[in-house]
Symmetry: C2
Subunit: 180 residues, 2 copies
Protein backbone atom coordinates (compact mmCIF):
# COMPACT_ATOMS: atom_id res chain seq x y z
CA UNK A 1 0.00 0.00 0.00
CA UNK A 2 1.19 3.50 -0.80
CA UNK A 3 0.94 5.86 2.13
CA UNK A 4 1.44 9.58 2.42
CA UNK A 5 4.23 11.19 4.41
CA UNK A 6 2.90 13.53 7.09
CA UNK A 7 4.87 16.78 7.52
CA UNK A 8 5.96 17.17 11.17
CA UNK A 9 8.17 20.24 10.61
CA UNK A 10 9.08 22.45 7.67
CA UNK A 11 12.18 24.65 7.61
CA UNK A 12 12.77 27.28 4.92
CA UNK A 13 16.46 27.43 3.98
CA UNK A 14 16.44 29.80 1.01
CA UNK A 15 14.07 31.94 -1.07
CA UNK A 16 15.45 32.89 -4.46
CA UNK A 17 14.74 34.30 -7.88
CA UNK A 18 13.83 30.96 -9.46
CA UNK A 19 13.98 28.33 -6.71
CA UNK A 20 13.31 28.04 -2.98
CA UNK A 21 14.73 25.32 -0.74
CA UNK A 22 12.99 23.83 2.29
CA UNK A 23 13.59 20.81 4.49
CA UNK A 24 10.53 18.87 5.62
CA UNK A 25 10.65 16.42 8.49
CA UNK A 26 8.18 13.63 7.69
CA UNK A 27 6.70 10.72 9.61
CA UNK A 28 7.07 7.30 7.98
CA UNK A 29 4.62 4.39 8.41
CA UNK A 30 6.84 2.87 11.13
CA UNK A 31 6.47 6.20 13.04
CA UNK A 32 10.13 7.08 12.52
CA UNK A 33 11.08 10.51 11.18
CA UNK A 34 13.04 11.29 8.03
CA UNK A 35 14.12 14.50 6.25
CA UNK A 36 13.09 15.52 2.72
CA UNK A 37 15.04 18.25 0.89
CA UNK A 38 12.62 20.00 -1.46
CA UNK A 39 13.41 22.50 -4.21
CA UNK A 40 10.34 24.62 -4.97
CA UNK A 41 9.97 25.90 -8.52
CA UNK A 42 7.09 27.95 -10.03
CA UNK A 43 6.66 25.58 -13.01
CA UNK A 44 7.60 25.88 -16.65
CA UNK A 45 6.39 25.22 -20.17
CA UNK A 46 8.02 23.33 -23.03
CA UNK A 47 6.99 23.88 -26.64
CA UNK A 48 7.28 21.44 -29.56
CA UNK A 49 7.35 23.79 -32.58
CA UNK A 50 6.73 22.01 -35.89
CA UNK A 51 6.91 23.95 -39.16
CA UNK A 52 4.51 23.34 -42.06
CA UNK A 53 7.29 21.48 -43.92
CA UNK A 54 7.87 19.12 -40.96
CA UNK A 55 10.93 20.62 -39.27
CA UNK A 56 11.29 21.05 -35.52
CA UNK A 57 12.74 24.30 -34.13
CA UNK A 58 15.20 23.96 -31.25
CA UNK A 59 17.25 26.48 -29.28
CA UNK A 60 20.87 26.31 -28.22
CA UNK A 61 22.06 28.01 -25.05
CA UNK A 62 24.70 27.81 -22.35
CA UNK A 63 23.39 26.25 -19.13
CA UNK A 64 25.46 27.30 -16.13
CA UNK A 65 24.17 24.46 -13.91
CA UNK A 66 25.76 21.87 -16.22
CA UNK A 67 28.51 24.13 -17.71
CA UNK A 68 27.48 23.14 -21.24
CA UNK A 69 25.74 24.43 -24.33
CA UNK A 70 22.58 22.33 -24.72
CA UNK A 71 20.15 21.87 -27.59
CA UNK A 72 16.61 22.14 -26.20
CA UNK A 73 13.02 22.76 -27.14
CA UNK A 74 11.92 26.36 -26.46
CA UNK A 75 10.89 26.57 -22.81
CA UNK A 76 10.61 28.92 -19.89
CA UNK A 77 9.42 29.63 -16.40
CA UNK A 78 5.76 30.52 -15.77
CA UNK A 79 5.57 34.11 -14.50
CA UNK A 80 3.18 35.27 -11.76
CA UNK A 81 -0.47 35.45 -12.96
CA UNK A 82 0.38 33.76 -16.25
CA UNK A 83 -1.55 30.78 -17.64
CA UNK A 84 0.74 28.05 -19.03
CA UNK A 85 -0.56 28.67 -22.56
CA UNK A 86 0.34 32.38 -22.35
CA UNK A 87 3.83 31.40 -21.17
CA UNK A 88 4.12 29.01 -24.13
CA UNK A 89 3.13 31.71 -26.64
CA UNK A 90 5.45 34.28 -25.01
CA UNK A 91 8.48 31.98 -24.76
CA UNK A 92 8.07 30.64 -28.30
CA UNK A 93 8.05 34.21 -29.59
CA UNK A 94 10.88 35.49 -27.38
CA UNK A 95 13.23 32.55 -27.92
CA UNK A 96 12.58 31.65 -31.57
CA UNK A 97 10.81 34.62 -33.15
CA UNK A 98 7.86 32.46 -34.22
CA UNK A 99 4.22 33.07 -33.38
CA UNK A 100 1.11 30.93 -33.88
CA UNK A 101 -2.64 30.77 -33.27
CA UNK A 102 -2.35 26.98 -32.96
CA UNK A 103 -0.77 26.25 -29.56
CA UNK A 104 -2.17 22.93 -28.27
CA UNK A 105 -1.72 21.67 -24.66
CA UNK A 106 -0.54 18.06 -24.61
CA UNK A 107 0.34 16.85 -21.09
CA UNK A 108 2.34 17.82 -18.01
CA UNK A 109 5.12 16.12 -16.07
CA UNK A 110 7.53 16.59 -13.15
CA UNK A 111 11.18 16.86 -14.19
CA UNK A 112 12.63 15.50 -10.96
CA UNK A 113 9.98 14.52 -8.40
CA UNK A 114 12.54 12.98 -6.03
CA UNK A 115 13.60 16.44 -4.85
CA UNK A 116 11.68 19.13 -6.76
CA UNK A 117 8.08 20.10 -7.55
CA UNK A 118 9.05 21.60 -10.93
CA UNK A 119 6.31 20.76 -13.41
CA UNK A 120 6.53 21.24 -17.19
CA UNK A 121 3.36 21.86 -19.22
CA UNK A 122 4.00 20.61 -22.75
CA UNK A 123 2.52 22.23 -25.87
CA UNK A 124 2.51 21.44 -29.58
CA UNK A 125 2.90 24.55 -31.77
CA UNK A 126 1.87 24.35 -35.44
CA UNK A 127 1.08 26.85 -38.24
CA UNK A 128 4.10 28.93 -37.25
CA UNK A 129 4.94 32.28 -38.79
CA UNK A 130 8.19 34.16 -38.30
CA UNK A 131 8.17 37.65 -36.81
CA UNK A 132 11.70 37.93 -35.33
CA UNK A 133 13.43 36.81 -32.14
CA UNK A 134 12.97 38.93 -29.01
CA UNK A 135 15.06 37.43 -26.20
CA UNK A 136 15.48 38.89 -22.72
CA UNK A 137 18.63 40.92 -22.39
CA UNK A 138 20.34 38.29 -20.20
CA UNK A 139 19.52 35.36 -22.52
CA UNK A 140 21.81 34.43 -25.41
CA UNK A 141 20.02 31.94 -27.59
CA UNK A 142 20.57 30.54 -31.09
CA UNK A 143 17.80 28.82 -33.03
CA UNK A 144 18.24 25.81 -35.32
CA UNK A 145 15.83 23.72 -37.45
CA UNK A 146 16.05 19.93 -37.67
CA UNK A 147 14.31 17.06 -39.43
CA UNK A 148 12.60 14.95 -36.80
CA UNK A 149 14.18 11.71 -38.07
CA UNK A 150 17.61 13.33 -37.60
CA UNK A 151 16.70 14.29 -34.02
CA UNK A 152 15.72 10.65 -33.35
CA UNK A 153 19.22 9.61 -34.54
CA UNK A 154 20.77 12.31 -32.35
CA UNK A 155 18.99 10.88 -29.27
CA UNK A 156 20.33 7.42 -30.19
CA UNK A 157 23.88 8.83 -30.48
CA UNK A 158 23.59 10.64 -27.12
CA UNK A 159 23.60 14.14 -28.63
CA UNK A 160 20.34 15.29 -27.00
CA UNK A 161 20.78 15.52 -23.23
CA UNK A 162 17.74 17.35 -21.91
CA UNK A 163 14.74 15.39 -20.62
CA UNK A 164 11.90 17.66 -21.85
CA UNK A 165 13.58 17.85 -25.28
CA UNK A 166 13.78 14.05 -25.56
CA UNK A 167 10.07 13.83 -24.67
CA UNK A 168 9.32 16.53 -27.27
CA UNK A 169 11.24 14.72 -30.01
CA UNK A 170 9.63 11.33 -29.26
CA UNK A 171 6.22 13.02 -29.34
CA UNK A 172 6.96 14.87 -32.61
CA UNK A 173 8.17 11.63 -34.21
CA UNK A 174 4.89 9.88 -33.34
CA UNK A 175 2.86 12.89 -34.47
CA UNK A 176 4.62 13.11 -37.86
CA UNK A 177 4.35 9.34 -38.45
CA UNK A 178 0.63 9.35 -37.63
CA UNK A 179 0.10 12.13 -40.18
CA UNK A 180 1.86 10.20 -43.00
CA UNK B 1 27.19 32.59 -31.12
CA UNK B 2 26.90 30.65 -27.87
CA UNK B 3 29.25 31.91 -25.17
CA UNK B 4 30.12 30.56 -21.75
CA UNK B 5 29.27 32.31 -18.51
CA UNK B 6 32.37 33.03 -16.46
CA UNK B 7 31.97 32.49 -12.69
CA UNK B 8 32.93 35.66 -10.81
CA UNK B 9 31.82 34.46 -7.35
CA UNK B 10 30.30 31.27 -5.92
CA UNK B 11 28.42 31.15 -2.64
CA UNK B 12 27.45 27.88 -0.94
CA UNK B 13 24.01 28.17 0.69
CA UNK B 14 23.33 24.60 1.81
CA UNK B 15 24.96 21.16 1.82
CA UNK B 16 22.51 18.32 2.33
CA UNK B 17 21.89 14.60 2.16
CA UNK B 18 20.83 14.58 -1.50
CA UNK B 19 21.21 18.11 -2.83
CA UNK B 20 23.46 21.15 -2.30
CA UNK B 21 22.52 24.70 -3.24
CA UNK B 22 24.95 27.36 -4.45
CA UNK B 23 24.59 30.79 -6.05
CA UNK B 24 27.05 31.68 -8.80
CA UNK B 25 27.57 35.24 -9.95
CA UNK B 26 28.35 35.12 -13.67
CA UNK B 27 29.59 37.60 -16.24
CA UNK B 28 27.47 37.97 -19.38
CA UNK B 29 28.79 38.93 -22.83
CA UNK B 30 27.78 42.58 -22.24
CA UNK B 31 30.04 42.48 -19.11
CA UNK B 32 27.04 42.78 -16.79
CA UNK B 33 26.69 40.36 -13.87
CA UNK B 34 23.80 37.99 -13.18
CA UNK B 35 23.04 35.34 -10.51
CA UNK B 36 22.52 31.63 -11.17
CA UNK B 37 20.86 29.44 -8.50
CA UNK B 38 22.27 25.93 -8.88
CA UNK B 39 21.06 22.74 -7.21
CA UNK B 40 23.87 20.18 -7.15
CA UNK B 41 22.88 16.51 -7.29
CA UNK B 42 25.15 13.42 -7.38
CA UNK B 43 23.35 11.92 -10.41
CA UNK B 44 20.93 9.05 -10.75
CA UNK B 45 20.04 6.06 -12.90
CA UNK B 46 16.74 5.06 -14.50
CA UNK B 47 16.01 1.50 -15.56
CA UNK B 48 13.63 0.31 -18.29
CA UNK B 49 12.85 -3.26 -17.17
CA UNK B 50 11.22 -5.38 -19.89
CA UNK B 51 10.12 -8.95 -19.14
CA UNK B 52 10.52 -11.81 -21.63
CA UNK B 53 6.77 -11.62 -22.36
CA UNK B 54 6.98 -7.89 -23.19
CA UNK B 55 5.72 -6.24 -19.99
CA UNK B 56 7.37 -3.22 -18.39
CA UNK B 57 7.84 -3.14 -14.61
CA UNK B 58 7.11 0.17 -12.88
CA UNK B 59 7.13 1.26 -9.25
CA UNK B 60 4.62 3.35 -7.35
CA UNK B 61 5.70 5.55 -4.47
CA UNK B 62 4.76 8.70 -2.59
CA UNK B 63 6.88 11.70 -3.59
CA UNK B 64 6.93 14.32 -0.86
CA UNK B 65 8.19 17.09 -3.20
CA UNK B 66 4.97 16.87 -5.24
CA UNK B 67 2.68 15.43 -2.49
CA UNK B 68 1.54 12.65 -4.81
CA UNK B 69 1.90 8.94 -5.46
CA UNK B 70 3.67 8.63 -8.83
CA UNK B 71 4.15 5.71 -11.20
CA UNK B 72 7.81 5.65 -12.29
CA UNK B 73 10.49 3.46 -13.76
CA UNK B 74 12.83 2.04 -11.09
CA UNK B 75 15.51 4.63 -10.37
CA UNK B 76 17.86 5.86 -7.72
CA UNK B 77 20.73 8.05 -6.69
CA UNK B 78 24.31 7.04 -7.54
CA UNK B 79 26.18 6.37 -4.29
CA UNK B 80 29.82 7.36 -3.70
CA UNK B 81 32.29 5.17 -5.64
CA UNK B 82 29.48 3.50 -7.58
CA UNK B 83 29.50 3.14 -11.37
CA UNK B 84 26.08 3.94 -12.94
CA UNK B 85 25.67 0.31 -14.07
CA UNK B 86 26.18 -0.94 -10.48
CA UNK B 87 23.57 1.56 -9.29
CA UNK B 88 21.17 0.31 -11.97
CA UNK B 89 21.62 -3.34 -10.94
CA UNK B 90 21.28 -2.46 -7.23
CA UNK B 91 18.20 -0.23 -7.63
CA UNK B 92 16.43 -2.69 -9.93
CA UNK B 93 16.94 -5.42 -7.34
CA UNK B 94 16.06 -3.30 -4.29
CA UNK B 95 12.97 -1.67 -5.77
CA UNK B 96 11.48 -4.48 -7.87
CA UNK B 97 13.11 -7.73 -6.69
CA UNK B 98 14.33 -8.50 -10.21
CA UNK B 99 17.91 -9.22 -11.23
CA UNK B 100 19.57 -9.60 -14.63
CA UNK B 101 22.90 -10.17 -16.37
CA UNK B 102 21.63 -8.08 -19.28
CA UNK B 103 21.74 -4.41 -18.17
CA UNK B 104 22.46 -2.24 -21.21
CA UNK B 105 23.45 1.46 -21.00
CA UNK B 106 21.37 3.57 -23.43
CA UNK B 107 21.98 7.31 -23.00
CA UNK B 108 22.10 10.04 -20.36
CA UNK B 109 20.23 13.30 -19.87
CA UNK B 110 19.79 16.23 -17.50
CA UNK B 111 16.38 16.38 -15.81
CA UNK B 112 16.31 20.15 -15.33
CA UNK B 113 19.42 21.90 -16.69
CA UNK B 114 17.96 25.37 -16.05
CA UNK B 115 18.73 25.06 -12.34
CA UNK B 116 20.22 21.63 -11.56
CA UNK B 117 23.11 19.43 -12.70
CA UNK B 118 21.15 16.22 -11.97
CA UNK B 119 21.97 13.71 -14.70
CA UNK B 120 20.11 10.43 -15.27
CA UNK B 121 21.94 7.48 -16.86
CA UNK B 122 19.35 5.32 -18.60
CA UNK B 123 19.56 1.52 -18.86
CA UNK B 124 17.54 -1.19 -20.58
CA UNK B 125 17.14 -4.35 -18.45
CA UNK B 126 16.17 -7.60 -20.18
CA UNK B 127 16.27 -11.34 -19.29
CA UNK B 128 14.90 -10.54 -15.83
CA UNK B 129 14.51 -13.12 -13.07
CA UNK B 130 12.66 -12.58 -9.81
CA UNK B 131 14.46 -12.97 -6.49
CA UNK B 132 12.36 -10.81 -4.13
CA UNK B 133 12.11 -7.10 -3.32
CA UNK B 134 14.65 -5.63 -0.90
CA UNK B 135 13.80 -1.95 -0.34
CA UNK B 136 15.60 0.38 2.06
CA UNK B 137 13.79 0.73 5.36
CA UNK B 138 12.63 4.29 4.59
CA UNK B 139 11.29 3.47 1.11
CA UNK B 140 7.74 2.20 0.63
CA UNK B 141 7.37 0.99 -2.90
CA UNK B 142 4.83 -1.11 -4.80
CA UNK B 143 5.62 -2.78 -8.11
CA UNK B 144 3.22 -3.14 -11.05
CA UNK B 145 3.55 -4.68 -14.55
CA UNK B 146 2.07 -3.03 -17.66
CA UNK B 147 1.77 -3.69 -21.36
CA UNK B 148 3.79 -1.05 -23.19
CA UNK B 149 0.88 -0.11 -25.47
CA UNK B 150 -1.21 0.57 -22.35
CA UNK B 151 1.54 2.83 -20.97
CA UNK B 152 1.55 4.77 -24.26
CA UNK B 153 -2.20 5.35 -23.79
CA UNK B 154 -1.59 6.39 -20.19
CA UNK B 155 0.89 9.06 -21.36
CA UNK B 156 -1.72 10.32 -23.84
CA UNK B 157 -4.34 10.51 -21.04
CA UNK B 158 -1.94 12.38 -18.73
CA UNK B 159 -1.59 9.51 -16.25
CA UNK B 160 2.23 9.31 -16.38
CA UNK B 161 3.75 12.46 -14.91
CA UNK B 162 7.44 11.78 -14.47
CA UNK B 163 9.91 12.83 -17.18
CA UNK B 164 12.36 9.88 -17.01
CA UNK B 165 9.40 7.46 -17.02
CA UNK B 166 7.93 9.05 -20.17
CA UNK B 167 11.32 8.75 -21.89
CA UNK B 168 11.54 5.12 -20.73
CA UNK B 169 8.09 4.27 -22.09
CA UNK B 170 8.72 5.96 -25.47
CA UNK B 171 12.00 4.06 -25.73
CA UNK B 172 10.40 0.72 -24.76
CA UNK B 173 7.65 1.26 -27.32
CA UNK B 174 10.21 1.78 -30.11
CA UNK B 175 12.24 -1.17 -28.90
CA UNK B 176 9.26 -3.54 -28.84
CA UNK B 177 8.04 -2.37 -32.27
CA UNK B 178 11.50 -2.86 -33.83
CA UNK B 179 11.59 -6.42 -32.47
CA UNK B 180 8.21 -7.32 -34.02
Amino acid sequence: MCYEEKTMKSERIYEGKIVNLRIDTVELPDKKYSKREIVEHPGAVGIIPITDDGYMILVKQFRKAVEKVLLEIPAGKIEINEEPKETALRELYEETGYQTDNMEYLFEFYTSPGFSNEKVYMFLAKELYYVGQNVNKDEYIEIEKFKIEDLMDMIERGEINDSKTMIGIYYANMYINQKK
